[in-house]
């Protein structure tokens, strides 16, 4: 069945897959997701701690910052395995995005504190960087200097783990420059609201109302921030794409198993050609998704920035479309069972839709790809 194929000379990747499967057998993703959903929780703290203990949350952080010092191939395999197991925690934001930002920011006591806490699971560092003012109601986040401190006012949306966050990693326009500051979640002037996500998650909005931040909370400042955020987005997109590829492959497997088992007209419905061709198409789409993730990871290690960027856009688009369309077909092939909340296949579909919409829908990725490719 489809999966990402990377060089794995010392077996690290195979071990990683096994570890996720082991964790998933003890703390199954679908059960965790259902519990989280009915309790309107943004993360499953117990599951998150297990993942931190396994070294997965700080996977991309260097060892001297408390991380595992691993790379994107490992992250992709991890995220893919989490997708398969439907362990639907905000890893792409709370681990990948935050780690990438922190590891590339200049050394400081605050940076090191956050990195160590993120990796151990003691802290939940929630990136709050997306500006709602362009899309919906909400005010652009601004900050003004107040002596050595900064005063934040405005909103951030699509904040994962907003209620559970110990610290927010806030990207903010300070007029002449941009800043990345860490803001302890308990600060006065911060209010958090959450809305239910289609995948059972809780999507946060954080409002800052004259929230004062000390200068020593500055993680990075100046023109380097654009690149810093871009790298964090790139890695997070790869992680999301990989998770989608895992969901896609697993949904194909579940559907094959179901249609082989389901007997109508005296035969398993998987023996009918109309069903078989559909399954083959789903399987092929999942193979393409996995190949696009491998390509995106490989291209990041080569010396061509444009090619690296294109590859990520392609993978995010391919995996988003593959996972959502495979899951739609999977729900259909499960018949009425597929339409029940009781069956897990619907959870896969909803997770696929949410992840496909995260950090850029396929259509937006494709248009950006073409624009970038033709920018001479």
């Amino acid at each position: 069945m489809p999966q990402t194929i990377f060089d794995d000379p010392d077996g690290t990747l195979a071990m990683l897959r096994d570890s996720v499967a082991t964790l998933a057998s003890r703390q199954p993703g679908p059960a965790s997701l259902r519990a989280k959903r009915s309790a309107s929780k943004d993360i499953d703290r117990e599951l998150w701690n297990s993942m931190a203990e396994a070294g997965w949350i700080g996977l991309l952080l260097p060892e001297d910052l408390g991380g595992a010092g691993l790379g994107l191939a490992e992250q992709a395999v991890l995220s893919e395995a989490l997708g398969r197991a439907l362990i639907a925690e905000p890893v792409s934001a709370g681990a990948v995005f935050a780690s990438t930002l922190l590891r590339e920011a200049p050394a400081s006591a605050e940076r090191d504190r956050l990195a160590a806490g993120l990796a151990s699971g003691e802290l939940f560092v929630s990136p709050a960087w997306q500006d709602p003012s362009r899309h919906s109601h909400g005010a652009a986040l601004k900050t003004v200097a107040d002596g050595d401190d900064f005063i934040l006012t405005g909103d951030r949306h699509f904040v994962d783990g907003a209620t559970s966050a110990s610290d927010f990693l806030v990207v903010v326009d300070a007029g002449r420059e941009a800043l990345v500051v860490s803001v302890p979640a308990g600060k006065s002037g911060i209010s958090v609201s959450e809305k239910a996500g289609v995948d059972g998650s809780a999507i946060g909005r954080v409002t800052f109302e004259r929230c004062s931040v000390e200068a020593n909370r500055i993680i990075a400042r100046g023109p380097s921030i654009e690149a810093l955020v871009e790298n964090a987005v790139t890695n997070a997109r790869i992680a999301v794409a990989a998770e989608l590829a895992g969901i896609a492959s697993k949904a194909v497997e579940m559907t094959i198993a179901y249609t082989k088992d389901r007997v109508q007209f005296g035969k398993p419905i998987a023996s009918f050609q109309a069903v078989q061709h559909r399954l083959v198409e789903m399987w092929s789409d999942a193979e393409f998704a996995c190949a696009s993730v491998v390509n995106a990871v490989v291209k990041q290690s080569e010396d061509d920035d444009k090619a690296a960027h294109l590859a990520v856009l392609a993978a995010k688009a391919r995996c988003g479309d593959a996972a959502t369309s495979i899951c739609r077909r999977a729900v259909h092939l499960h018949g009425a069972m597929g339409f029940t909340d009781e069956h897990d296949i619907g959870l896969y579909l909803k997770r696929a839709i949410a992840l496909s919409a995260t950090l850029g829908q396929p259509e937006a990725m494709r248009l950006e790809f073409v624009e970038l490719e033709y920018a001479a």
């Binding site: 094959i256 249609t259 082989k260 083959v280 696009s292 390509n295 391919r318 790809f369």
Partner: protein, 385 residues
Amino acid sequence: MATDWNAMSDDDFRAAFRDLVERRLPSELRFMRKQRPLFDEVAVWYHALNEEGWLSPVWPVEHGGMGLNPAKHMIYVEEWGRLGCPRIPDHGLGLIGPLLLAFGTEEQKAYYLPKILSGEHVWCQGYSEPNSGSDLASLRTAAVRDGDHFVVNGQKIWTTLAHCANWIFALVRTSRDEKVRQKGITVLLIDMTTPGVKVRPIANLRGETDFCEVFFDNVRVPAKNVVGEVDQGWNVAKSVLGHERIFLGAPTRPEIAMERLDKLARARGAFDDPAFRSRYAKHRLDLYDLGSAFERFAKVLREGGELGADVSLLKIFTTELYQRITEEMLLLAGEDARYFDDIEAGNGVVDAMNLFLDSRAPAIFGGSNEIQKNILAKAVLGLPS
């Protein structure tokens, strides 16, 4: 002294191929419009390749081939396309050669292989029949033993380039097994100059005659022309394609079509239309991702592995993408889609209709995409009958 091509660096190998093309391929044969030129039209190139020792990439060195490993062979095929080398009648090199190498007697190898390289024998492949296409095992062209000969009666169809071939390797029925239809089929090598063989070219949608009908009327074929064992031809025929199955899934055709679509779109200012940009982006990314998927299988070959049945997903994808891109060209052509010939695009022309019509074929030949899906359903997904 034969060169050890496999020991050469990839860059040197590419350079050597380029050098050969510069020296020996006449410019009028580069980037030919015709997809399947006849032997005589490209004979200069065929003989040049043979003289230089570059004609047969995968045959072993002792039989006059280059003995390339799959990795080098992929470069060979890649450069061939990139440099615009014309397709040569290659059934002898690509199909009958490997078939003889695997199943032929020493005598057959010694007789036929050199004649393929010299171009004395030009081969075609007699598989399909009017009532046996996807269901090839139902074939009925009969070969009846008569002393040390077989007498062949029947008809083949869709026989590519039969009108410039002088030999055909045919699947014929030598006996009938009611339970297993694949039994009783034999591979027979037939000299097409034998009395009773008749060839009739068939015009295709593009107005070209790439394929033919071949009729056999009491054609006497020496029994020593059987390859492998009598009645066991199905296994012989089936095993011919090894790693070369990856080439059926190569992105070459959609790449060519994409390049033309680009040209046409620029000339007509279509990129200013958001609806077109959206559709274009989808085709473009399909092509890009096909590259990633192709690489997944190519890597297996480079690392010395073998391909499974799953590789045929590339064939399905590339042939369907080729169709989608050429359909887009006709859409973009507007009322110009009424023209049979090339249409204007800026300072040049684009062969939109030619490619659109051409794109109908690959989804059918080499096992139609539906047959490929049947095979994948069983062999890869393990679905029940």
